[in-house]
Symmetry: C2
DNA sequence: CGCCGATTTGAGCCGAATCAAGTTTCGTGG
DNA sequence: CCACGAAACTTGATTCGGCTCAAATCGGCG
């Protein structure tokens, strides 16, 4: 983007801090603004009338948050961890998109990335075992959280509770817990304090996830 | 689009007839062209190394088929029924997208529609029972195939075999068959000749799908 | 009519859900 | 710093929905 455009954006932007567990946009609510994730993790979820819930996406910095064209969000966006976002009023973005094709290109490109991720996850939800699902989740987090990974081992803090992980994987809390224990006993991961995970060999985790 | 652009497109387009079961683009293959579906149904699927398969989307006329920005397809596209498509060489479209923002807008808009559909389906895959999954599938087909529905009842031919339905729902053929039988016995649907389905009351099918 | 693939139906099994305790972690205030 | 309580997580026993394996039936087609 041109510096003039950036300046224009900056003038109308507001920074917002969202605590873990707080909603950014509710399913079916009116979307008054777009935003950029500065840090933290945001979960996108859907809920059925009887309360069953499914997390349909995770967004990390510096992802874009919002829904072009439609004013109504089809998902709930909620901070999974403490999160900072930078908000832009909807009209400003809509106008800039009209003026700057490369901005629309950028948004289009992210939509396609999210579509690819959603479809990958459909394979996980529909065809993988509980074991593979949990490994897939850990693999996903490992590859998204740790920016500069040193070779084949990684360390990170889980941004999601067991309940959230279960909602992401279409499993129950208990099954997630059991499969984590199994991965630990198989020496594929090490867990400290429930949330901190060490992956000695990414290759083995990737294999456990059924990715080759 | 302007008529000049349409004429330009027309000059370089080729019509192609694809028989049921034939591949349009393979997973990981190079995408040499974009296309429009003129009629028929195309299924998008992903496969794991060991052969497990998941259908991640269905495309109906007049959907667009192709993957902007990336030259490699992340899914396999295969005709579910006999299908006619209209193909455009990739360079032509890429150039026109650069010149006509409204074309990019159009493509962007379809990507978002597909993303919404993918996320809806994630909820189905992750959280619904076999019964609800099958009902959800029938509901999806009913709302997409039959353009002008007369009130609350519908009739259509299934574009997918039981095996394809199973791959779409993350179930086995046998389970799909049993649930179809159950829906039939519950008078929610009538089946004739395996493929032809009558829905006397869409409301009840919708309810069986868990959609309210 | 008879064949072959697609679909249905049946019996038994298994993986993940459910229900029910434990145990660990962590925040809070004494 | 420790005691307490609540929430998050783990573990165990049992149940059940959907899978597997096997056989019968249906439907389209030569």
């Amino acid at each position: 983007m041109s510096s003039a455009q950036l300046a224009e954006l900056n003038k109308h932007s507001t920074r917002r801090k969202v605590e873990a567990g707080n909603e950014v946009i509710g399913q079916g609510e009116n979307v008054g603004s777009y935003s950029n994730i500065l840090n933290g993790v945001v979960k996108l979820s859907k809920m059925m009338a009887d309360g069953r819930q499914q997390i349909v996406g995770l967004q990390f910095a510096p992802d874009f948050l919002g829904r072009p064209f439609l004013t109504e969000s089809s998902v709930t966006a909620e901070a999974a961890t403490e999160t900072e976002i930078c908000c832009f009023p909807r009209p400003i973005i809509d106008r800039m998109v009209g003026e700057a094709p490369e901005l629309e290109r950028k948004l289009h490109s992210q939509s396609l990335k999210e579509l690819d991720e959603a479809r990958d996850w459909m394979l996980t939800l529909g065809r993988k075992t509980a074991q593979e699902k949990v490994a897939s989740f850990l693999y996903l987090i490992a590859t998204h959280i740790d920016p500069e990974r040193s070779g084949n081992s990684t360390t990170f803090d889980l941004p999601l509770s067991r309940a959230d992980i279960a909602d992401f994987l279409g499993l129950t809390i208990e099954t997630v817990s059991r499969q984590m224990t199994k991965l630990r006993k198989d020496n594929i991961i090490v867990i400290e304090n429930n949330r901190h995970v060490i992956v000695p060999e990414m290759r083995r985790l990737r294999y456990a996830a059924g990715n080759d």
